[in-house]
């Protein structure tokens, strides 16, 4: 890994947002917003440059301070990392623009929430750091930065219900990260290294490794709200301010999924068993059904969207059983591995765009009506056609109708399911889509229904609606570069093309 070309971009991608966030603390509220918005545009521009660089050079690394591993810290930017960084930048820039206009429009009524900007930039630095990290302890630090910033953002409104939800979220996050750190301690104790690449080579199967895998997976499942540890997500995501809800569900929970994917594929390949994969897949399958059903039963718009996040995260868990070969299958014939894990990446992107758009639309509706009971959607189509369209488009992507990004993700997932012969996951994917269609069409039906009574209706700036609509369109546009993007992902030396040999399975299950 040391032989890869070096670049200073990985360090700047983490350092710049931290620098700007700290700088913005010196300004008063309006100054914070200006500095914050400039900082997020700058960070997004850097992410674009990083994407181009990795597309040209392949994976690049940065050795912090010139201290080479195992003593120093190495940042590694491979195609998988840069795709996540790019997604964060795209979604983040739209949410930043939305936040800029949203807080301006609310300044007179709801006070000022200028602390959003430094917190969001610290969160962004944490996310970039997480995607670039190459050792277990660095991942712990970045996920803690993300967790604390995310909770601080979630309680930004200062309302009672958001405080309750925030404390619940924080306790779950601390529990999750402590469990993760316990696993890291055991791994360090048994191998003496924390470097992901090195661990993948020297980790030996055994009781310690299996136990470490268990507590790490438990911790990350809590962090990414995987069933049955999803209890903290709906209240926390639904009680936050609109741009914050969008950030939390589009980006924050994906961080834990990214670590889980990296660790399962790169580090713990040796200890994975067929049964373990099936178990985590089952958790995902239950989350898909349960979350969609709960979303269908809610009466508040933001709670519907938050429960839908639980279901959509369930799809992400369902890729893990597909990555582990069934007993007796030869790895050489495993042509479903690539569809399975790229389906996960596409599901992450499609959900990020669609769910961010959905939460921003909910924020627009609350701004106009003052509450988010689903009855407030009545007659939305004539009052705010642009927002109705955003909800419709984002909803179609969540359901997985062609030609949306959500369709592409679920189609790849189904392809993986059929090619691997694990057919029992197929009905879950389809049932999840039907239930999603249930609540999306329920919302759209209300949007076209005539209003019952004349509720007060405050006009909402067009700029906000445009941002929500653009994000919804983004969940469709990501399909067009699909072929190139998947080739790009598979070209990674550290991930992707290596996944087949890694997933051959370990000492217990598959031989």
């Amino acid at each position: 890994m040391i032989n890869l070309p070096t670049s200073s971009l990985p360090a700047i991608l983490v350092g710049l947002p931290i620098l700007v966030a700290t700088l913005s603390l010196f300004f008063r509220s309006r100054g914070k917003a200006v500095v914050g918005l400039l900082g997020s545009l700058l960070t997004a521009g850097l992410a674009l440059i990083a994407f181009v660089e990795v597309a040209q050079l392949g994976s690049v690394i940065h050795i912090l301070g010139g201290w080479e591993p195992p003593l120093g810290i190495l940042l590694r930017m491979d195609p998988l990392a840069v795709v996540f960084i790019g997604m964060t930048a795209l979604v983040g820039v739209f949410i930043s623009l939305f936040a800029w206009w949203y807080f301006r429009a609310q300044e007179s009524t709801n006070g000022k929430f200028s602390l959003f900007w430094p917190l969001w930039l610290f969160l962004w630095a944490g996310l970039n750091g997480l995607f670039l990290s190459n050792d277990l302890f660095n991942l712990f630090v970045t996920i803690e930065v993300i967790g604390i910033c995310a909770v601080a953002l979630a309680v930004l409104s200062g309302k009672t219900d958001s405080l309750f939800a925030g404390l619940r979220y924080l306790l779950a996050a601390i529990t999750g990260s402590m469990a993760y750190l316990f696993g890291v301690a055991l791994i360090y104790g048994s191998t003496g290294t924390l470097d992901l690449g090195l661990l993948g080579q020297i980790l030996e199967p055994g009781k310690t490794t299996t136990f470490a895998l268990l507590v790490i997976t438990f911790g990350l499942m809590v962090k990414m709200a995987g069933f049955p540890f999803h209890f903290w997500l709906p209240p926390a995501h639904s009680s936050a301010l609109a741009p914050v809800s969008a950030l939390l569900s589009a980006l924050v929970v994906k961080g834990a999924f990214y670590i889980l994917l990296r660790l399962w594929a790169e580090v713990f390949g040796i200890s994975l068993t067929y049964a373990g994969g099936q178990l985590i897949g089952l958790a995902g399958a239950v989350a898909v059904i349960w979350g969609s059903w709960q979303a269908f039963m809610q009466t508040n718009l933001k709670l519907i969207i938050a429960h839908s996040s639980v279901a959509q995260l369930g799809y992400l868990l369902m890729i893990f059983p597909l990555l582990i070969l069934a007993p007796g299958v030869v790895a050489g014939s495993a042509d479903w591995l690539s569809p399975a894990w790229t389906a996960g990446v596409y599901q992450v992107m499609a959900h990020a765009f669609a769910k961010a758009s959905f939460f921003l639309s909910a924020g627009i509706i609350i701004m106009a009506q003052g509450h988010d009971h689903k009855g407030s959607l009545r007659d939305l189509a004539s009052r705010m056609p642009m927002t109705t369209m955003a909800i419709g488009i984002a909803g179609v992507s969540l359901i997985g109708l062609p030609p949306s990004g959500g369709f592409f993700a679920k189609w790849m997932l189904l392809k993986g399911v059929f090619l691997s012969g694990q057919l029992w996951w197929a009905p879950v994917i389809l049932t999840g889509s039907f239930l999603t269609a249930g609540y999306v069409f329920m919302l759209l039906r209300l949007a076209f229904a005539p209003a019952r009574d004349q509720e007060p209706f405050r006009p909402v700036p067009h700029s906000l609606q445009v941002v929500a609509l653009l994000l919804a369109l983004g969940s469709f546009l990501i399909v067009f570069p699909a072929e190139n993007l998947i080739q790009f992902l598979e070209s990674s030396e550290t991930f992707g093309s290596g996944i087949e040999s890694i997933m051959e399975g370990g000492a217990y299950g598959n031989n």
Binding site: F137, F140, V141, E144, G147, I148, V151, A152, V155, T160, L163, F164, G166, L167, R168, L170, L171, A173, I174, T175, S177, M178, A179, L181, F182, A185, L186, Y188, G189, G192, P235
Partner: protein, 100 residues
């Protein structure tokens, strides 16, 4: 039994006590203390590995990690306490409502 194994077993016990407390305690402060106990267990585990690997002096890497971890854990606990205090000021509640 070597000395470090006593510490590792203690750390596992602390971790389990902590995780049980987070889920079973009702009072906010008890929950927060439970997370601190969990953290204590994890840090003890790290440090005991440093003792095990000691030839002439203890392995410094776990200590560096534990220092970082303690900073993170203190910050999280302080933030949780601040939230709990704010909830108490606003509502007088000291635990989560049962129905949720």
């Amino acid at each position: 039994m070597e000395t470090y194994k006593i510490y590792i077993l203690t750390s596992a016990v602390l971790f389990v006590i902590g995780i049980g407390g987070v889920f079973m305690a009702r009072h906010f402060i008890k929950k927060i203390i439970a997370t601190v106990i969990m953290g204590g267990g994890v840090f003890l585990c790290f440090v005991s590995f440093a003792e095990r690997d000691a030839l002439t002096f203890a392995d410094p890497v776990p200590h560096a990690m534990v220092i970082t971890g303690i900073v993170v854990a203190v910050a999280s606990a302080a933030f949780a306490l601040a939230l709990a205090r704010r909830i108490y000021q606003l509502t007088g509640e000291q635990s989560f409502p049962i129905d949720k």
